[in-house]
Every structure is written in C-alpha cells, then in structure tokens.
C-alpha cells in the first residue's frame, strides 16, 4: 500500500505558490508566528518556491532539477534582518540570491531610523512612497512581495493601524501577491486591558484583525502547548482567509514541523 508522501501542500493541486494562477489572481498570505517559532525557514521555502517552483523540504536528493531561470521575480522587504542573514540561510537550501536578478532585497533594517522619525507620520509615508518607487524601478512585471516585521514599524512609530494598512495597499497594488509575516504573541495583542486606539496593543490587534479580513490564505506557526520537544518544533496550520481564492482550493491542514540544529526543516502530517 502506498501512502501519501509527507510534503508541504498549500493548495489542493499539491502546489505551494501556484505560478499560473498567481499571475491572474492576487494572493494575499499572512504568516503569523510567536516567540520561539521564527518563520525564517518557511519564508526561505516560499522564496525558493516563488523563484524556482521547487521546495527543499522532505525531498530526496537529486530528485528535483532546478532550472536556472526563475519563474517570477521576488522582492523581500525586511524591517528586522539584513541581506546577509537571508542570503546565507537561503544558500543552505541551495538558492543563490547574491547575483540573482530575480531576487531583490530591500533592507529597511540597517538604517530604518535614519529615514523614519517615530513621532512623524509624514516620514513613514515618505518611506512607503520611496518603497513603491523603488519597486516600480526594480521590476517590470508584477513581483511577489515578502514583507517581514511590519508590526515592528507599527509598534515603534506613531502610525495608526489604518494608515499602515493603506500604505500596505500601495505595495499590494504593485505586486502579484503579498506574503506578510507578522509576530502575534498574546502580549502584543492583548486588548483586555489596553483598549484605547493609541495603545500599541490595540493598534497591533486592530491591524491583524483587519488584515485577516483581507487575506486569502493564513499560515500560523505555533510552538507545542506542552513546551519544548526534541523532535518537534511546533505546528504549522494552513487555513483559508476571509476572501476566497477562486482559482484554486486551499488544502486546510495542520502539520507538525521540526527545524533541526543544522537549520533544515522537516514536515510531518498530523
């Protein structure tokens, strides 16, 4: 009896980021994570899949033949890490991004607060204006945009959740799909005690709820409730967003995953 191979499938046709469909229909994906389940490995995987259509997880060596040409361009915007961090971790998956024309990294980590004054909302909108201009200049066709650590901007500046969303909208329009990763620890979104619109907790909570009403696809990374385990890092759950994705069906499922010491990831069916 043959059993289904344990592998990551986001859509029912066993694809992760469907190439052709993404061209015609916009995909908006939110990845939420908490302390202890950093999404770096998953982002790397999604970058690889967006670029080449392959996936370096649970696969045997030499089974996949990666073409040298990438299928769509990827722009990665990070508020929390620099290019070196992603370049080296992607290299571990065999993805060379140093000289890759299809991969562009926009570093909003290194000199963020030279460009942004926390109390000045104008400076934040200017940052996004520059960003849209940069993206327009970078790629001809609509790229897949990854955004990491946007919640940090929300917490550390006076920008409101609605303003942040409208800025995000600008990027949304330029892209073929947006993959947003966001930290959502309980402490960051606690509105039981902090329920005034100026409270950072309220801001982030509001932002996340509004985003959740606009996504097609949600992925959540959570640690095991029982705490640390040697063979399991946490759970990865895939669920549909509020806006249906019409081209393909999303395979709602929960996986267990393990990121081992050599930073390679493995998925298991639950």
């Amino acid at each position: 009896m043959s059993s289904q191979k344990q592998d990551l499938h986001i859509f029912t046709d066993n694809s992760i980021i469907p190439h052709n469909q993404v061209k015609s229909e916009h995909l908006f994906n939110l990845i939420t994570h908490v302390q202890g389940t950093s999404p770096t490995w998953l982002l790397n995987l999604l970058i690889e899949n967006s670029l080449y259509g392959t996936c370096s997880i649970n696969t045997d060596t030499n089974k996949q033949h990666r073409s040298n040409t990438s299928r769509s361009s990827v722009i990665f915007i990070s508020f929390l890490n620099d290019f070196k961090f992603y370049a080296s971790s992607l290299k571990k998956n065999g993805v060379e991004v140093q000289s890759n024309q299809s991969f562009k990294f926009i570093d909003l980590f290194t000199n963020l607060f030279d460009r942004v004054v926390p109390s000045n909302i104008e400076s934040v909108s200017k940052l996004f204006d520059d960003l849209t201009q940069e993206i327009k200049n970078l790629s001809q066709d609509k790229p897949i945009i990854f955004i990491e650590g946007l919640e940090f901007l929300l917490l550390s500046t006076d920008i409101s959740s609605i303003q942040c969303l409208s800025q995000l909208n600008k990027l949304h329009k330029l892209s073929s799909s947006v993959i947003l990763s966001c930290q959502s620890d309980e402490e960051l979104i606690d509105i039981a005690t902090f329920n005034h619109p100026t409270h950072p907790q309220y801001k982030l909570h509001d932002f996340l709820v509004r985003i959740l009403h606009r996504t097609n696809l949600n992925i959540a990374l959570r640690p095991l409730e029982t705490g640390k385990a040697k063979d399991i890092t946490g759970t990865l759950s895939i669920s549909k967003g509020c806006i249906p994705y019409e081209s393909l069906d999303i395979a709602e499922k929960e996986y267990l995953y393990l990121v081992s010491k050599d930073q390679s990831a493995k998925l298991f069916f639950r």
Binding site: G36, T59, F113, L155, S156, D190, K228
Partner: protein
C-alpha cells in the same frame, strides 16, 4: 580490517600526520583559532566535534550549481574564512569558533553561561544578550560585571596591544570600580600550582623521577585510556584556549583597577538619539577593538526618565543597537532589565525581546522555596540553588526557527568564586517523607522480618 607486513612502513603513521601548513583550512567555512603566537606542536589537532568537508545533508535537495554560481559560492565562503582568520589573528587566544556556524565567539566571563549559549564557545561577536530578572535581587549585575571583567582581562593579555574596550551606559562613573578579580584558587590549589611549576623545571632530579607511564599501563592503553594522541589534542586545545575565559571571585577586585582608557561611560540623557550618537562615536574611535557594550538595568526609572519608556522611544533605540551589531561585527551588547518594573507580559518587554539575539531570565526563589531547599540540603549547604534560569531565545538558533524556550530546566547558584548554572531538580525533603511515613504506620513498632 587490513593486514600489513611487519617491515612495512605505515604511511603517515608517525608524528607528523598532518603537515603544518594545513591549519588555515582545517575546517571549511571557519577561520583558524590558531595563530603564529602559539608555539607549533608536532601534532596540532583539528577542532574537535566537527565533521570535515561539506557532506550533503540528508533530507535536502542538492542542487548542482552551475559554474558561475560555484565561483561565487567559493568567493563568499573564502571571504568568511578570511574575515575569521583576520579576527583570530587580530585577537589571538580570546576567540573560539562557534560549533554551529561560521561566527567567532567570545566568553561572557561565566563559563556555565557560555555553555548554555550552545556554541561550544561563548557569545558570538556581533550579537546581543538580554538578561531579565525578577524580584529585588541583583544577580544580573554579577553577570554584567563578570562580562566586563573578562573584557578587561583579555585587554591586559598583551600589554603592547589592547584588544578590548568597555562601554557602559550608566550615570554611575564608579561602576567599573568594583569589578571582580580573577579567582586564584583555594590555598591548597595555589600550593599545588607552586609544586607543579617546580616539577616542570628541567633538573636532573626531575628527569630521573619521570615516570614511564607508557610501559606500565598496557591495559589502560588497550582501552584507549592512555591515548597519547587524544591527550595531546586535549592539551593543545587547552593551550590554545587558555585565555578564552577566566573564573572570577566576586569578593576580590580587579588589580590594577580599570583604567580610563579601558572603559567609556556614557551618561544617560533624556534623549536616546543623543545616547546613540555617543555610542557610535566611541565605536568609531575604538574601531580595531572588541567592544563590550554594557547597559545595566535598562529603563530603570532611577536613571531613565519616564518619557523614554514609551515604545516609540525605546524600540527605535534597541533597533538601532541591533543594526549596530551588524555594522560593527566586533560589538557585543549585554543588557539587564528588571521584570518587577516591566512585567514579563508587558508589550515593552516582549517587543524588546524580539530585537535581542539571546534572551534569558533569572527568577530567584522566594523565601518559602529557599527555606525548603535549606531543609532538604541540611548537610550540603553548597548545593542550594538561588533561583531558576529560563531561556527564551538563543543566538542564531532561535532566529533560524528552532523552538528553544526552556523554562524551569536550569537553576543558578551564585557563590563567592563562581556563578553556576546547572540542571534543576527538586530535592526530596527527607523530613516530609519520614513524617508522612510515621502517620501511615499502623503499629508503633517496626517489624523486622
């Protein structure tokens, strides 16, 4: 199994197994910790516990790179090796390569803390550590001070060339006055040391008395107990990393005291932007040194004005510090935060944690628990721990996606000569169990079978 003729010369079997010039490339992707200042022994070991070469990792697609990529990869790796070689040449003896990645690590001054960080060295250069502490105790300052002392000791290894600079963010310019000195050992150890030194001197008597171990311990040899090769590796390792870390005695003081050219104090102002600029100034002026930036009790209201505790003030500052650790790869930041003032469940602590590379928490035991421990360890008072140590994030590993939150697994104990961290286990209280047994007994007499 292979057989050889008696007369056959075994190739490379002798002492010079490895040529001397192989050291720089001993482990691919890593620099060599060994520098010219160390006398070359016949057989300098490879760094232990590491595989050689790049073998394919199972469970991962191996992509055959085209030639152009290969060249690029090589140059990328060479660059890393070069960087590390430069570093270990610039700072001999005080750096250890990490066992997890290609970074170099440096000791925190507490050997048990170094172990917990998981690199088989210490804390990686270009990273940050946050120590959170509950209660009114001040164990975290012991860690900060050991960290500072370690830097000063490293700095004084070579009087001609200083290699470390301390930067302390505090208004208290006396902070450096009470840094702990190096632990010299108990009086018995000091005596033993003197004897050993005497024995090592070359004299006729010592030569005559030299025991011939190899001939007498055949069985030990059989089981590899007397493996001279292994011992040599160990010895050479000890020799290379002799000055990697030291043990500090909190009752003693650094002698001579910290000089003004070894430490910079940056007083806390009402403005983080100004503070940041001052830090950058010091970093620029001390570019060729390892910088240990120490921030004692960050956001403590006795030093920081209330407006600085706003998220829009503190988060940009920490974010800038984080980016500094990337810009200046020789910078290490260590900071402590009192959890009684900023609760663990508050947004300020949580969001700060996401910006630090490593986060640990010290939770001292309450009075009741301490009394219980005192009762349980009545006869072994040196076994009493002082609190629990929780780990929330570890450098490189947490950011890569590993889940490393370990609560209640380690305990710490602060002694005069050492800050110890060990695995935590609740002791059995003998009194409680015997009392319980007494109650359960049905007869007053013990029946002896």
């Amino acid at each position: 199994m292979s057989f050889r003729k008696r007369g056959e010369i075994i190739s490379n079997g002798g002492k010079n197994t490895l040529p001397n010039n192989r050291i720089p490339n001993a482990v691919p992707g890593r620099g060599s910790p060994i520098t010219s200042s160390i006398p070359r022994r016949g057989n300098i070991p490879l760094i232990p516990n590491r595989g050689q070469g790049t073998q394919p990792i199972p469970g991962r697609t191996q992509v055959i790179p085209n030639k152009r990529n290969l060249d690029l990869n090589e140059s990328f790796e060479n660059l890393q090796i070069k960087e590390n070689e430069e570093l270990s040449f610039k700072f001999p003896k005080i750096l250890k390569p990490s066992s997890l990645n290609s970074s170099m690590t440096i000791s925190t001054g507490i050997s048990d803390l170094d172990k917990i960080l998981g690199h088989q060295g210490g804390i990686p250069l270009g990273s940050s550590l946050l120590i959170e502490e509950n209660g009114s105790t001040d164990f975290s300052s012991i860690l900060l001070k050991a960290f500072a002392s370690q830097g000063i000791i490293h700095n004084r290894l070579n009087p001609q060339q200083s290699n470390t600079h301390l930067v302390v963010l505090t208004s208290n310019i006396q902070w450096g006055k009470d840094l702990p000195g190096v632990y010299r050992g108990s009086s018995r150890q000091i005596k033993k040391q003197a004897i050993r030194e005497n024995e090592e001197k070359l004299s006729i008597q010592n030569l005559v008395n030299k025991p011939q171990i190899d001939k007498d311990l055949r069985i030990a040899w059989r089981y590899g107990l007397n493996d001279s090769n292994k011992r040599e590796i160990q010895e050479a390792n000890d020799e290379i990393y002799k000055d990697f870390n030291h043990q500090f005695d909190i009752t003693s003081r650094l002698n001579p005291l910290v000089q003004n050219n070894e430490i910079s104090y940056i007083p806390i102002s009402n403005n983080f932007i100004q503070l940041y600029q001052q830090i950058v100034q010091v970093l620029e002026s001390q570019k060729n040194k390892i910088i240990r930036l120490i921030i004692p009790s960050i956001l403590n209201p006795s030093m920081y004005s209330p407006q600085l505790t706003q998220l829009t003030e503190i988060l940009p500052f920490i974010h800038k510090l984080r980016s500094l650790t990337h810009k200046y790869p020789q910078l290490i930041i260590i900071s402590s935060i009192p959890l009684d003032l900023y609760s663990k469940s508050s947004i300020i602590v949580k969001s700060m944690e996401s910006l630090f590379d490593t986060v640990i928490q010290l939770e001292p035991f309450n009075q009741q628990m301490l009394q219980f421990l005192e009762r349980a360890y009545k006869n072994e008072p040196n076994k009493i721990s002082h609190g629990l140590l929780h780990i929330f994030k570890l450098n490189n590993q947490s950011d890569a996606g590993q889940m490393l939150i370990t609560k209640n697994e380690y305990s710490f104990k602060n002694g005069r000569k050492k800050f110890e961290i060990e695995e935590w286990g609740i002791p059995v209280d003998d009194d409680a169990t015997t009392a319980e047994n007494d109650e359960n007994k049905q007869t007053t007499k013990d029946i002896d079978f």
